[in-house]
Symmetry: C2
Subunit: 193 residues, 2 copies
DNA sequence: CGTCTATTTGAATGTACTCAAAAGCGGTGG
DNA sequence: CCACCGCTTTTGAGTACATTCAAATAGACG
């Protein structure tokens, strides 16, 4: 996606004039990142929201026992970032890295607050963004507590047919909370039908 | 919690004058519900957000194979309801019932939209509510994909020490996505330490 | 006190994980 | 353009975690 299209979309969604969206985007840090490059490391004190203009990003975290887990994938026009860290100023619990060459805008805490206070329509914009994100998080929890691994995988490829083609299978397994070996076995079983 | 305290809290959180909060609360349907009484049934076409003044509610859903699952618990001052149904007008995927005698306000789609359009500060209020809800949903997903059943349980009683005392254990098991029998075994194991 | 539901227990089963090794695949340099 | 290297995926055997089913026990409430 190109910059002007991103601005158009944001303008339409938010009812904020394109020229004003542009003003705030200019205040954000724009970055082109290569495949596998990190834009946020776990523990970074400087926390930002990330708006993806093009490419594909992934958010991950770690636990001591089992290492890295994929928290979510982000595509064009999606937001990522550690909302909790943004909210209370703690260091980032998540890391964010590019799965494909990508272009992103980094909105730090200060800019986020500026946008919300200077332009009240951003309150509405983020209310809608968060409301929709909440819905999809709720659905994911529903699947987490009621689906088998196989069902989770089938639902995933149905929900994100594009993502599924791009990213390594082991990341899908991690996102679903299963091991890559077991996902491989699920796929073998499904293929034999 | 009493009505005037609820109004005070909402007013403080939202920066909206108490008298105006009161006006919208008066437009909502107020209901006292008995223990185990339902305020929303799965599939209900009339969908509402629920603001809990007192007591304890639980949101649940069903799948054909394993029956009912607890989606979440709601305490005083919390919101519940099917956001997706509110957003797109579909029938409710979730049911809501009282675990304790409770008092709730029901905000239907129409009133929700009225509040958002008439009083822009509600955009900010719900932006904050959703932002915080999103954070706790994200954390729950993190636990879902990276914790064992035992760890999930320990985290639960730490996060919700009050809820844990009130509600039947089988509902906690369901919330965590495990069977009541297995939770019982986890507790036995933990007790023997 | 009796009934109904929740919890506990145990045995058998199934689902998913670990570990180790082999096969596949993509990018890089010669 | 091919060969090699590193990483991902597959495979299989053994194990651990969690479920199912059935029955016994405990608790709550009228």
């Amino acid at each position: 996606m190109e910059r002007y299209k991103l601005i158009e979309s944001l303008s339409t969604q938010s009812n904020i004039p394109a020229r004003e969206i542009q003003k705030y985007l200019d205040m954000a840090e724009f970055r082109k990142v290569k495949k596998n490059e990190h834009i946020v490391q776990i523990g970074d004190p400087r926390v930002t929201l990330v708006l993806i203009q093009s490419g594909c990003m992934m958010t991950y975290f770690e636990d001591k026992r089992k290492g890295m887990h994929v928290f979510q994938f982000g595509m064009e026009m999606w937001w990522s970032g550690d909302l909790e860290a943004i909210t209370n100023g703690s260091p980032s619990f998540y890391g964010i890295k590019a799965i494909l060459p990508s272009e992103v805008y980094l909105i730090d805490i200060h800019l986020y607050n500026t946008m919300l206070t200077e332009q009240p329509l951003f309150q509405r914009y983020f209310r809608i963004i968060f409301q929709n994100a909440l819905i999809s998080h709720q659905k994911r929890i529903v699947r987490n507590i009621s689906y088998s691994a196989e069902e989770k995988y089938l639902e995933f490829i149905e929900l994100y047919p594009k993502v599924q083609l791009i990213i390594p299978q082991k990341y899908i397994a991690s996102y679903l909370g299963i091991t890559p070996e077991f996902l491989s076995k699920i796929r073998r079983k499904l293929a034999g039908k």
